[in-house]
């Protein structure tokens, strides 16, 4: 079991899938000769050649659509959208074409493609290159949405995504690319299954991406017994695991990097509340980023995402009072 950076785990997953299945092909901007702006395709051009690993023009709509067409013919294209925001010029192909293709062909065609995109904040890329933007790809029956949170999930979820018969939006929090972690290449993770990060009894914390790490640190520095679930797949999310956990802990906190208004966490809260209303002993809450664009300044960006301290404070308040705390940025005196 090797220690790898997340970006290396991605390379490894791509490489392993490409070795096993000649239908797997890669394309995107500067992913071939330059090995990817974030080095997530290092060595793959050399290994698999220019037919299967291709640089594209700056044409997201065209190459996303090309992935749709190639997938319909039985290939398994994996494309890279360098920053999730760039889907804003190509969303049509993913949501309105790819996701509906199986349905509109009466089941005759399927679209086994993966759209990898780096997302989220933390590295000073500014307002147009730092959002999480899961909201663009939810509410789209036919499209699966997955987020990695560490090297192991990068490896195992990406492999699963490539094997998935449906289009998959695969989100990669950019800030994690350089993070190291153990990777056991024999571990299989399933799309649609949440990962139990740690067991606990006082509260269930549901997170994705880098917020899994924030939740872990917050739990560690608190004296509470926290059950932490890495949702991993946002669509379709693992109701069973989450509901079972909250049934046990009777409290729910979602830790997410999306804005409070319109973020995905409300979905978890709504479902849990509808289903476990009488069993909850405290209001389910969300700890999110505020309703603001992502600021560039390092000082501001550091305050934009909830830090472990902020989460710990919310956690403590919730469990001690069984009441919803004010938003962390209010607690922290920012607003």
């Amino acid at each position: 079991m090797a220690d790898m950076r997340v970006r290396q785990a991605i390379v490894q997953a791509l490489s392993d899938e490409m070795s096993e299945d000649p239908n797997v092909i890669l394309f995107g901007e500067d992913i071939a000769a330059a090995e990817g702006p974030f080095k997530t395709s290092e060595g793959l051009l050399d290994k698999f050649g220019p037919e299967r690993v291709r640089d594209t023009p700056i044409s997201e709509m065209a190459f996303t659509g090309a992935a749709v067409g190639a997938a319909m013919m039985g290939m398994r294209p994996v494309i890279e959208i360098m920053f999730m925001e760039f889907l804003g010029v190509a969303l049509d192909q993913l949501v309105t074409e790819a996701a509906k293709m199986h349905y509109l062909s009466h089941g005759e065609y399927s679209v086994p493609m993966v759209v990898r995109a780096s997302n989220a904040s933390g590295l000073g890329f500014g307002s147009q290159h730092s959002q999480t933007l899961e909201n663009w790809v939810v509410a789209t029956p036919g499209l699966k949405v997955v987020t990695l949170s560490d090297a192991q999930s990068a490896y195992s979820l990406l492999r699963a995504a490539i094997r998935e018969p449906n289009p998959v939006m695969f989100l990669e929090p950019r800030i994690l690319y350089a993070e190291r972690g153990p990777v056991d290449t024999s571990i299989k993770l399933e799309i649609g299954k949440a990962r139990l990060i740690q067991g606990g009894n006082d509260v269930t914390m549901v997170a994705m991406g880098n917020m899994v790490n924030v939740a872990k640190q917050a739990a560690k520095q608190s004296s509470l017994s926290c059950e932490i679930i890495d949702l991993s797949t946002l669509v379709p999310w693992d109701r069973q695991t989450v509901l079972a956990s909250v049934k046990k802990t009777k409290r729910l906190i979602v830790v997410e990097e999306a804005p409070l208004s319109g973020g995905w966490g409300s979905e978890i809260v709504a479902e849990v509340t509808s289903n476990l209303f009488t069993e909850l002993i405290a209001p389910p809450i969300r700890i999110t980023t505020p309703d603001t664009p992502v600021p560039f300044s390092g000082v501001l960006e550091a305050k934009f995402t909830p830090a472990p301290d902020d989460v710990t404070r919310q956690l403590k308040y919730l469990v001690e009072t069984n009441q919803a705390p004010k938003p962390w940025w209010v607690m922290a005196g920012l607003h």
């Binding site: 659509g65 067409g69 190639a70 089941g107 399927s110």
Partner: protein, 330 residues
């Protein structure tokens, strides 16, 4: 038995079938128009009257393992490629027997057996998809071809530009065909586009291009043959502009009040059915009598199909939940 594949073979092997199929398409569209007017078809329809020659030329040349990415205006190409009038009309009427089981409707026709990809209702939707299909042919070293069909107005969408460039730089076996029927919805092309010959846009991508009379099956076939040969032999993409005219309104009940006086009539004198009819009369393939007989046969056949489809079953309500996820049972 009549199915898509046998109907496709017919049109590849038999020139008279071109004419018969054009009659079929025309009559089909007329009936769709009537059914829409009478409230038997809901939503929208986009008729292809006047544009049948291109659909026939394409279907007469492509192989079954080639693929076509077309648009909401696809009744004609669907029938030409072989889909039965029954399955197309049933889809348009939302019946369980439709080619997409009734969940698609007029804008979403599909038949994998003859390479008709689900048609897209989004302008530019099919253009990169065709490139992607071609990419897979190229990588697998298959001599298959992908073809994207779209209108004049659609050459102003970003996807057109990006797709053409990508196809060219990768030398993909794809053919982009613009059916220039002079209008995009209610706007004459000159009001939205500052050039007259749209095919010159291919220069921006160093892509071979030509313009061709869209009313003549034979002329269209010549241009298409060059493009198909180029694509199959590794020569890359081609852009073809077929100059044609939309005899019907844009969609639904549109009566096209925006046409300049006389324009429709002038184009109708070159009705593609008439053009082929005259060629076949000259060569003795058709006579006044055989023409009349064929027209009668077609009308009768389509009328019967309309009857049948009207009696076809509706989808089961549970069908709402079908075919959403590939590889899962639900």
């Amino acid at each position: 038995m009549t199915n898509s594949i046998s109907r496709r073979s017919e049109i590849r092997s038999n020139e008279l079938a071109w004419y018969e199929r054009m009659l079929e398409i025309r009559e089909f569209e007329n009936q769709v128009n009537a059914l829409f007017a009478s409230g038997s078809i809901r939503g929208t329809t986009h008729l292809c009257n006047g544009q049948e020659a291109l659909d026939i030329a394409i279907a007469s040349l492509l192989r079954n393992d080639d693929v076509v990415a077309a648009t909401y205006r696809s009744h004609g190409i669907a029938l030409a490629l072989g889909l039965t009038p029954h399955s197309v009309l049933a889809e348009i009427m939302g019946k369980a027997t439709g080619c997409a089981g009734g969940v698609g409707g007029s804008m979403h026709l599909c038949d994998k057996s003859v390479g008709l990809l689900p048609t897209s209702a989004i302008i530019g939707g099919g253009m990169p998809i065709a490139a992607g299909a071609a990419l897979s042919f190229q990588i697998r070293k298959q001599d298959r071809v992908a073809l994207a069909l779209f209108g004049d107005g659609s050459t102003n969408i970003g996807s057109f530009h990006e797709s053409m460039n990508l196809a060219s730089i990768w030398k993909l076996p794809v053919i982009y065909i613009c059916d220039n029927n002079v209008y995009g919805e209610y706007s004459r092309i000159n009001l939205t586009t500052p050039i007259e010959d749209l095919h010159i846009r291919a220069e921006s991508y160093a892509m071979p291009h030509e313009k061709v009379d869209g009313m003549s099956v034979y002329t269209l076939r010549e241009a298409l043959e060059r493009a198909i040969e180029r694509a199959r032999s590794g020569g890359g993409p081609t852009f073809i502009e077929a100059k044609t005219y939309r005899f019907a309104g844009h969609s639904r009940a549109d009566q096209a009040p925006y046409r300049p006086v006389g324009e429709l009539e002038s184009w109708k004198s070159r009705d593609p059915i008439l053009v082929l009819e005259n060629q076949f009369k000259e060569s003795g393939k058709l006579t006044e009598d055989s023409i009349a007989a064929k027209k009668m046969e077609t009308e009768k056949r389509i009328a019967e199909i309309v009857q049948e489809v009207q009696n076809d079953p509706e989808p089961l309500v549970g069908d709402i939940f079908k075919n959403i996820w590939a590889g899962s049972r639900s």
